[in-house]
């Protein structure tokens, strides 16, 4: 049990720190530090360009995708080294947002299922940020039931013709490539008729439309496929074995350990530390303190849980579904934190404009974004199922569609 660096770790940290100090885009540091919970905006700069430039710089110096093999653009670093890097990269890490899906999910899937030539061709520009990738699994009819997807892939010689619609695709509008899960046989039970591909997002017939979210922003897209052609060489895994391929992708999602999920606690604590209530400093109000303490131990519990996962990874253990707790706990906590921060502002908590709201509307934005955090990447309910079934070994839900051909499953409840 040691929360301090070993000498080797300290040396790695010093090297990383020095390089970052010398190379990071310092002009954006303050703005990046202030931005929170996925709302990263840089005034007067195109964040996509800034992010790509930083990623390329890192790649050129061997600091991109630290855990990937060197031949695919990585560094072959240890999990602890990744953590140290993230700690040192600090606010500049927020520039990696648009690469997370590609580096965390698409890359590992390609590594596991693409041919060697394709890997050597595709992975280095993915690592360096020159090419951005997205993941095309979710569909309107699917939701939590990912395998219920309907996008068809029909074989025509050495090609596949894709028709259908995906939804909730992060970054589809700026992505160069995507991995795509399709239905290739609707006459067998749903998990058995899926096939995975990767494709050029600039292919004819691909149309990306932004989704306006409840928060007013558009972080996601719908992607429509009309007679899109994909060569069979871009198939990942066997025909009709797409479900297993997708499990690799999703497992890797869990392995994309990080500085931990956003809980909103540091922001709330800082806010309360500076806030004056009618009777005195908020931080001296016992009801505020009680609430803060409860959030504090959740936030620290998540932080150390993620550190324990890193230790397990370092020992060669595969991080298990227990990592689902981060998203589960943080999702609803962010929502509660936001509501409470508004409450503490009294009637003025309703104001969300940067000039009129406390801390520039940060908590108001958090409130409006929060419902999405309880859904994206698996709802709270799916997360609890995962923990119950895969960690605790409890039975799966009764599956009425298990042995039913996909095209005979009902689509309307009433």
């Amino acid at each position: 049990m040691n929360f301090d660096d070993t000498p080797q770790e300290a040396a790695f940290r010093a090297e990383a720190r020095a390089w970052i100090q010398a190379n990071a885009p310092k002009q954006y540091e303050e703005e990046l530090r202030k931005s929170s919970l996925g709302r990263t905006v840089l005034k007067g700069a195109n964040i996509l360009e800034v992010a790509k430039a930083w990623q390329k710089k890192k790649a050129d110096a061997g600091w991109a995708c630290l855990h990937w093999p060197k031949e695919y653009g990585g560094r072959g670093a240890s999990p602890i080294e990744r953590v140290i890097w993230q700690q040192e990269e600090g606010p500049f890490g927020k520039l990696s947002g648009m690469f997370i899906i590609g580096h965390g999910m698409c890359g590992p899937t390609m590594m596991a299922f693409a041919g060697e030539e394709q890997k050597r061709k595709c992975l280095p520009p993915l690592a360096s940020g020159e090419k951005i990738w997205c993941q095309l699994f979710s569909e309107p009819a699917g939701g939590s039931d990912v395998a219920g997807l309907r996008t068809r892939a029909e074989r025509r010689g050495d090609e596949w013709i894709i028709n259908g619609q995906k939804i909730w695709t992060s970054g589809a509008h700026y992505s160069d490539y995507g991995i795509l899960l399709t239905r290739t046989d609707p006459t067998v039970p749903k998990h058995k008729g899926l096939t995975m591909f990767f494709l050029d997002m600039k292919s004819p017939g691909v149309e990306v439309r932004p989704i306006k979210q409840a928060s007013g922003q558009s972080d996601f897209n719908e992607v429509y496929f009309t007679d899109v052609v994909i060569p069979d060489s871009q198939r990942l895994g066997a025909v009709n074995d797409g479900w297993n391929v997708s499990l690799t992708t999703l497992m890797n999602e869990r392995m994309s350990i990080g500085a931990g999920v956003a809980t909103g606690f540091p922001e709330l604590f800082e806010f309360c530390n500076n806030l004056m209530l009618g009777d005195g400093p908020a931080i001296e109000d016992r009801s505020v303190r009680s609430k803060l303490a409860n959030y504090a131990v959740k936030a620290s519990g998540l932080r150390y849980t993620s550190m324990r996962a890193i230790s397990a990874l370092s020992k060669g253990e595969r991080p298990g579904p227990e990592n689902s707790i981060g998203k589960l706990v943080a999702g609803s906590m962010v929502q509660e934190v936001a509501m409470y921060a508004l409450d503490l502002q009294g009637a003025a908590g309703v104001l969300s404009g940067p000039d009129d709201a406390e801390v520039a509307g940060k908590f108001q934005a958090m409130l409006l974004r929060a419902p999405g955090t309880r859904v994206e990447g698996g709802t709270d309910e799916i997360m609890r199922n995962i923990i119950a079934e895969r960690v605790l070994g409890l039975p799966g839900d009764i599956r009425v569609d298990k042995d039913v051909p996909f095209n005979q499953i009902p689509t309307k409840g009433r």
Partner: protein
């Protein structure tokens, strides 16, 4: 003893629901949400014509003279429809202040205009962050004019007149505060719209610059009147919140019945069923607390302060709970702009702060229970 609305009151509810279903569909709410209009003028006119704006205003002042139980029933429907009109500020705040403290002339002029839909009113109480408190009122009254800044003022940018809380003394006592009535169209007041989490209900900053004002109620009575106005508005707003809670619950229930996942309606999964059951529980507790509040309001019972705080807390919790979990039941679709879920979530979280925050009312409730207990 009868812990229910009368058949006539229920009939009025049905009528209001029918009217609002037709005149205030989600599409109409979206016009305001999207900033195409500051409020739904046609709906406002319709509400006046239906007699809903003046339902609790005596006939002598141009109202229907029906009473506050009837107003509770209308309030619930306004909340259910998420109506994008200045109903709460005009009817619960401005009209109640006039009814409690207005002179005959003031009532004749303004209540009549409220009932007919000619005037939008509001209460200008807050000056930046914080909860209701005499100490927080800095806006100064002197020589029949007011100077200072109020923010946020609900519907302040579209209001024709405002009841304004101002400082007229410096003894440190509640009697330092007096109320004034200001015609916002006569100059001296500058209104600025402010962005807020619920664009279907406007918020504004009002800057008073030697603005002409006439006293409302006796000098030094301001805080005492305000306390009563806030209690009365708390009950009425709680009915809006209960209406909103019920609608959010219904939306969730309907979606759970329609939507299929894993080959079954999602409403057949206990996680979803029990989430909806818990929403029903909080909505029902809130409704029951509101009924008691309605009785206390309509009879001006000594129990009103306690009943109002309980209704306010319970209804705030229920609406926040139901609106956020309605989104959760809807999954990703619930988080789209296209679905209506977020309109209720926005309204729930905005309404939770009008009249002061949840933690303020928690504190108030215990204070009031303690006083009763000591008495």
């Amino acid at each position: 003893m009868n812990f229910d609305f009368s058949d006539e009151q229920k009939q009025m509810r049905d009528e209001a629901r029918k009217f609002l279903t037709e005149q205030c569909p989600p599409k109409a709410v979206r016009e305001v949400l999207d900033g195409k209009a500051p409020y739904d003028k046609a709906l406002w006119k319709g509400l006046a014509e239906m007699g809903f704006l003046g339902v609790a205003i005596p006939e002598e002042f141009g109202g229907a003279g029906a009473g506050h139980l009837e107003l509770c029933v209308i309030a619930e429907e306004m909340g259910r429809a998420n109506a994008p009109v200045p109903f709460s500020s005009t009817v619960y705040l401005a009209a109640e202040a006039l009814l409690l403290a207005g002179s005959e002339a003031q009532k004749q002029k303004w209540l009549r205009k409220i009932a007919s839909g000619e005037a939008i009113g509001t209460l200008a109480l807050f000056e930046g962050k914080g909860n209701p408190s005499p100490k927080a009122i800095k806006l100064q009254a002197s020589g029949g004019t007011l100077t200072g800044v109020k923010k946020p003022v609900p519907d302040g940018a579209i209001a024709d007149f405002a009841v304004v809380a101002a400082r007229t003394g410096s003894t440190g006592r509640d009697s330092d505060i007096s109320l004034f009535l200001v015609d916002l169209k006569t100059g001296g007041v500058e209104a600025k719209s402010l962005t807020n989490v619920d664009p279907t209900r406007g918020q504004a900053e009002l800057t008073f610059n030697n603005a002409k004002a006439e006293p409302l109620g006796a000098a030094g009575d301001g805080w005492s009147i305000l306390t009563q106005v806030l209690d009365r508005a708390a009950v009425l707003l709680a009915f809006e919140q209960v209406g909103g809670s019920d609608r959010a619950l219904e939306m969730g229930r309907d979606y759970a019945l329609d939507r299929i996942a894993f080959g079954r309606p999602i409403g057949s999964f206990q996680a979803v069923k029990h989430m909806l059951a818990d929403m029903y529980v909080s909505a029902t507790l809130a409704r029951s607390n509101c009924y008691y509040g309605a009785w206390a309001l309509s009879t001006n019972a000594a129990e009103l302060p306690e009943a109002a705080a309980a209704a306010r807390i319970s209804a705030t919790q229920a609406f926040q709970h139901c609106s956020k979990n309605n989104i959760q039941v809807h999954g990703g679709m619930g988080f789209t702009w296209e679905f209506d879920c977020h309109m209720y979530y926005r309204r729930a979280n905005a309404t939770a702060l009008t009249l002061g925050s949840l933690s303020y009312w928690e504190d108030q409730l215990i204070d009031r229970m303690r006083k009763k207990n000591a008495a």
